[in-house]
Symmetry: C2
Subunit: 426 residues, 2 copies
């Protein structure tokens, strides 16, 4: 796919500068969609390509058709709802996200980005505004990866991160493959709908605590962190805790503890954006009075640029070597996942910031620590993200929550940024 | 029970100074007993009060009767094999250990101490030596605690650490109680066989690497380490590893790692005998890209004297408080087990050292880090232990191994030390 861009026009007239989305309509749509798969605890369980996901897609499609869009579905089930522009030879200015959820997910993760796109369309319809380039709202298939891996499947196929065939063949825990699940719910489209994108914006709840912590409304996302994931095994010597003096031990958990502290230090040394996490750890034999003979754990390193991430990789490998020597253990470290850092397009990032500030919203530069469809799209088109706060930074949880006025603010920024990119037909 | 002692007599004549046990006979008895419950991998599985344990007890009893002993079984199934002395009003000089094993146990743990006692009897019979005080070889019931808890059940009842009724009522995983299991194998004795003990010696494989590491043959055991066991829970804040910056985290595993390093330091600061171990640890939710919200782990602190152990307790509690504050977590620490340190009787310890050195064996002062029946017996009678090396310090394992000449050496020391305590009838 060719990367195609159009220059921002900044042609908002005085009229469009006063334009605002309807926060209450956006909220109502979020609440209506959340009923499909709604859980007693107020969350949503709508796994990718289930019957419930099909119902959610149907509702989205209805709303898009009602807003005058035409709909195409590609072979991996991505839905593109297009609002014609004055010059439909231009690549579309696209927005969207996903509507599949985690098993105990919330109402906002993904859904917000999709329905903010619908709200932009509705607002433009109400104001009778025609853009120069066409607009598109996209629903990407299976972003969460809860039922089928890999995660971000629809956008991954769209940008060629992996093949359509690979994705269609993936099976869930019951052995149902993506190909059959798509047919089952009526969203097996035809052909490769990959097409040039003029600009891509994705509005999303932050899924972290930074905006809330700094009391900011709009997060101007500079980049998505690169990720290196590792499996580490520390092999020591299992022994009885009583008779074995400290100096004769090869304690695999003690060595692991030192390494966990190093993972933390490696990230802390690269403030504010680098991350280092050990989330998974298992001890063998895991008995109260036995010195651990073996410990397995994960390491997750993230950084906004690849040179930094490469440095961190060198640091963790050096730490493994040093700590193995000091502790008399052997330490094996193996990289199992690599996502390169993905900077967003400076002109679009600037459009997000400028429009947010112009409307009086407080802003903050930030990074995306998690993966999003926008991270894949940014490989083939200029892309940017708009973050809004979520309560206590909590996501992937039924108690996920967000303030209506924050969602409205992010949607207004999305509206203005899309207009900047698409231009107004005179 | 009254603690009753007799003064050591040191009356070994030139004849008895030349007296030696038969290492090959001792080894043969060990191998014969090991056939009962022997495993394909060369270990032994003979859980307490099973039919196999009954067969082992029968073989012991036969050997004891063959050696001219009289046998009594008490209500918890301890077997006392007595060789009459010249003055049977004197309290017996006792030795022994246990013959129950771990599910994947070895041939030597416990069995050595019992059969070394039998070998002492046989050696005295061959030499026609009559002691002043009577001698006893005891088989303590259920030292291992693999089938029934508490561990060291027979010696615990003997010294009143807990009641007979409590012990008899304990059930295994299938709901069989100790009382019924004893009847089943014919070892439910009558009445409380607790009786004054003049001196108690227990020969045992070290179950640790110290003697082997220092190339010594006889460990002169000064004391058994006191133990404090704790359950620790660190409560942090579960969060997504990507979007959560390092400075806003409350990482329960990172805080736990710092505490694990402290446990180690607290013990290292009190060389050479103190121990600090975290053997068990569980992470919640234990997912690769989620910052751990909660970690539970065990802490096992051991020290040879109670003042030191109390200091260590204060240190670990202070560390919990400090680390909780630094990490923004809350840390709960609860002591779940306390065994006081148990010094052994200086005169008996000295007898072990003197006799070992007199016979030209290399010796080393050491401590018992693990629990043994001798640790309970030491509460009511002068007691001491004799350690011999085991291969690579490994025990509670089918590959447990020991050198015949080391086992013979320990048995010779046992013979001489028992003669010192019991005296020779002129």
């Amino acid at each position: 796919m060719n990367t195609s861009t159009i220059a921002p026009t900044n042609q908002n007239t005085q009229d469009t500068r006063a334009l605002r989305v309807s926060g209450s309509r956006l909220w109502q749509s979020l609440m209506d969609l959340a009923k499909i798969g709604g859980t007693p605890k107020g969350g949503v369980c709508r796994l990718a390509l289930t019957e419930l996901d099909g119902q959610g897609r149907d509702l989205f499609s209805k709303w898009a058709l009602d807003a005058g869009c035409t709909i195409r579905v590609d072979a991996i089930g991505n839905i593109f709802a297009r609002r014609a522009g004055a010059d439909d030879t231009l690549p579309p200015v696209m927005t969207g996200s996903h509507i599949d959820t985690q098993p105990t997910g919330g109402k906002f993760d993904g859904n917000y980005g999709v329905l903010a796109g619908i709200e932009v369309m509705r607002t433009l319809n109400d104001a009778g505004i025609r853009t120069r380039a066409p607009l598109e709202v996209v629903v990407w298939t299976n972003e969460e990866g809860s039922r089928f891996v890999p995660v971000m499947m629809g956008s991954g196929v769209f940008v060629g991160a992996f093949t359509l065939e690979h994705a269609l063949g993936q099976q869930d825990a019951e052995g149902v493959c993506v190909r059959d699940a798509l047919k089952q719910i009526g969203y097996a489209g035809e052909g490769d709908a990959a097409h040039p994108v003029g600009a891509y914006f994705e509005a999303h709840i932050e899924q972290g605590p930074v905006l809330e912590n700094h009391e900011k409304v709009v997060g101007v996302v500079q980049a998505a962190l690169g990720q290196r994931w590792y499996d580490v095994t520390v092999q020591g010597m299992e022994a009885h805790a009583g008779p074995t003096p400290m100096e004769l031990r090869k304690d695999a958990l003690l060595a692991s503890s030192t390494l966990i502290a190093e993972v933390n230090r490696i990230a802390l040394d690269r403030k504010p954006h680098a991350r280092g996490t050990v989330g998974f750890l298992e001890v063998f034999p895991n008995s109260r009075n036995v010195i651990p003979g073996r410990v397995k754990f994960s390491v997750d390193l993230r950084a906004p640029d690849d040179a930094q991430l490469t440095d961190m990789d060198a640091d963790i490998r050096a730490a493994c070597e040093r700590i193995a020597k000091e502790s008399g253990t052997s330490i094996n470290i193996e990289q199992v996942v690599y996502f390169p850092p993905q900077p967003f397009a400076p002109s679009l990032v600037e459009a997000v910031r400028r429009n947010a500030q112009d409307m009086g919203y407080s802003t903050m530069d930030c990074v995306s620590g998690a993966g999003h469809d926008a991270v894949y799209v940014a490989r083939v088109a200029p892309a940017a993200m708009i973050f809004v706060p979520c309560a206590d930074g909590i996501s992937h949880n039924e108690i996920e929550d967000a303030e209506p006025e924050h969602l409205e603010a992010g949607c207004n920024v999305l509206l203005r940024a899309m207009l900047d990119s698409a231009g107004i037909a005179q």
